[in-house]
């Protein structure tokens, strides 16, 4: 894949160079798009995007000042805050579409599985990409809402690319996947059982962009500029799905068919505070931490 995404024309006089830690997945398309469209350059930012494999590596990177901004899922940010890491959210990242049967993440099972609804997941072995994180929390909530007891589910951690083959081999009964693996799964005959994000909250804020408190205090103008460019990018992405599908090819290795088929998430410049609070409560229910962190310090 080419990496000319950063070749924007933001070579103004007083541009500030910032590095953003992102995960090379569908969810961060807006920032690539925003860089391409020059939204960041307009705000005087020269953005370098660095990819990391997961939020766990991005959070320390932001704390240590190696990245000025980062992208991470909401639960990870809550966890970090509860452990006293000084983080501040600067923009929404990605949200659930809120449409049942048409979200960018779901729990899938083999077509002939006897798991028909979320409650059927009780006592089953379910693959997720990270234990004790957003995907388990939301799946648990979906099961709970369907009248099941999520505590009986046995979660197993597998990388997204391995979840589908693991389901096919019968190593696990079901798996929580996001795009493009959802499309890969359903097109190979699997069936979505429940849209865990939508079930939890149709407006669920799944991930957000953040910076360190220290940076936010030292360079409020840069943060403001980033927020505004980021929000612009998010809105732009939401309005131009075709542009999104196109930019995917620049930083992922999705083949052309998949680029067309994947279900895009919802991008919005509005952080849904309620859903963040809900997630924080659910995290307590699931025992991820015993005391809710102070959401106000985290959110802007």
């Amino acid at each position: 894949g080419g990496d000319d995404a950063s070749a924007g024309d933001g070579s103004g006089d007083d541009t500030t160079a910032v590095t953003v830690g992102v995960i090379p997945i569908l969810d961060v398309a807006p920032i690539y798009l925003g860089v391409e469209q020059g939204f960041f350059a307009d705000e005087g930012l020269d953005v370098t995007l660095e990819t990391a494999q997961g939020g766990a590596a991005i959070v320390p990177g932001v704390v240590s000042g190696q990245f000025q901004f980062g992208f991470s899922n909401t639960i990870s940010l809550l966890l970090a805050t509860s452990e006293g890491l000084p983080l501040t959210v600067v923009a929404d990242g990605v949200s659930s579409t809120g449409e049942e049967g048409n979200d960018f993440g779901a729990v899938i099972v083999p077509a002939d599985s006897d798991i028909k609804t979320a409650a059927d997941l009780e006592g089953k072995k379910v693959a997720v990409n990270t234990l004790n994180n957003i995907n388990t929390t939301t799946t648990n909530e979906a099961v709970r809402k369907d009248g099941g007891d999520p505590s009986t589910i046995e979660y197993v951690e597998l990388a997204f690319p391995d979840i589908i083959p693991a389901i096919q081999k019968g190593d696990v009964d079901a798996g929580q996947v996001v795009e493009p693996f959802l499309t890969i799964g359903t097109s190979s005959g699997m069936r979505a059982v429940t849209d865990n994000f939508v079930q939890t909250d149709p407006d669920l804020t799944v991930a957000m962009y953040f910076t360190s408190e220290q940076f936010a205090q030292e360079d409020p103008e840069v943060v403001e500029a980033f927020t505004s460019a980021m929000n612009e990018s998010l809105d732009y992405a939401q309005e131009n799905p075709d542009a999104v599908r196109e930019v995917l090819g620049t930083y992922t290795e999705l083949d052309a068919d998949l680029q067309e088929q994947v279900i895009l998430p919802r991008w919005t410049s509005e952080i849904d505070v309620d859903s963040v609070e809900l997630l924080s409560e659910l995290a307590v229910t699931d025992g991820l931490y015993s005391e809710q962190p102070d959401i106000d310090t985290l959110l802007p």
């Binding site: 090379p24 494999q53 320390p60 240590s64 690319p161 083959p165 493009p180 290795e253 999705l254 998949l258």
Partner: protein
Amino acid sequence: MTRAPRTRDALLGLTGLALVVAVVQLLPTLGLVDPAYLPPATEMFSALAREVTEASFWTQLGETLRGWAIGLAAAMVAGVLAGIVIGSVDFLRKLTASTIEFLRPIPSVALIPLVVLIYGSKPASALVLVVYASFWQVLVQVLYGVADVDPVVRDTARSYRFSRRALVRRVIWPTALPYVLTGFRLAAAVALILEITAELVIGVPGLGNAIGVAQSSGAVALTYALVIVVGLVGVAVNLGARTIERRALHWHASIRRDL
């Protein structure tokens, strides 16, 4: 006279690789595994062929190789020096034994968040992981090598009152050399593994990063193609090590017998 068997060796090696390729080709085509997860070798190679035409691939390969080489060199120098010093001073050997055992198994992977924190800039954090992991490989081999000096040889050197320097250079070093080279080969592989893993996990630019991107995009054939590149780098490193070995250890029983 010496060329013929070496050509034969090379041919045999290629045969071995060809066998592996054949197995990888047959497993999916015979339906023993799902081609969606292990595509036939031909598909991997065509993905590879596409990849090598892209400039970014060569940049990534270069980044990986540079990180690997610098880390390995640092680990070699540090490991050999430390190994010889610790190995030839009884006091130090005893003193450090337990600490070495303690530090050695700590997975470099577990150090990733720390490394990211301390050494902000990214290639440096991969470097630290690479050096940390391969250092132990070299150190331990050198320690074994130093301990392997033939007592009669050591006595000879002692009775002729060799200086410490000469003892190290003329006696300990040649004895330890076979071990050092084994250490080099182990460390080279470990360094490559850590470099790639760091690229994969921390996002240090390089082949590992490319593998990560391919993996999370579900581009299976490309993932394998990149893995093949990593493997080939390993083969090349070993060839180099063997060449050095043939020259540096021509007196050693293992090489002599091969002539």
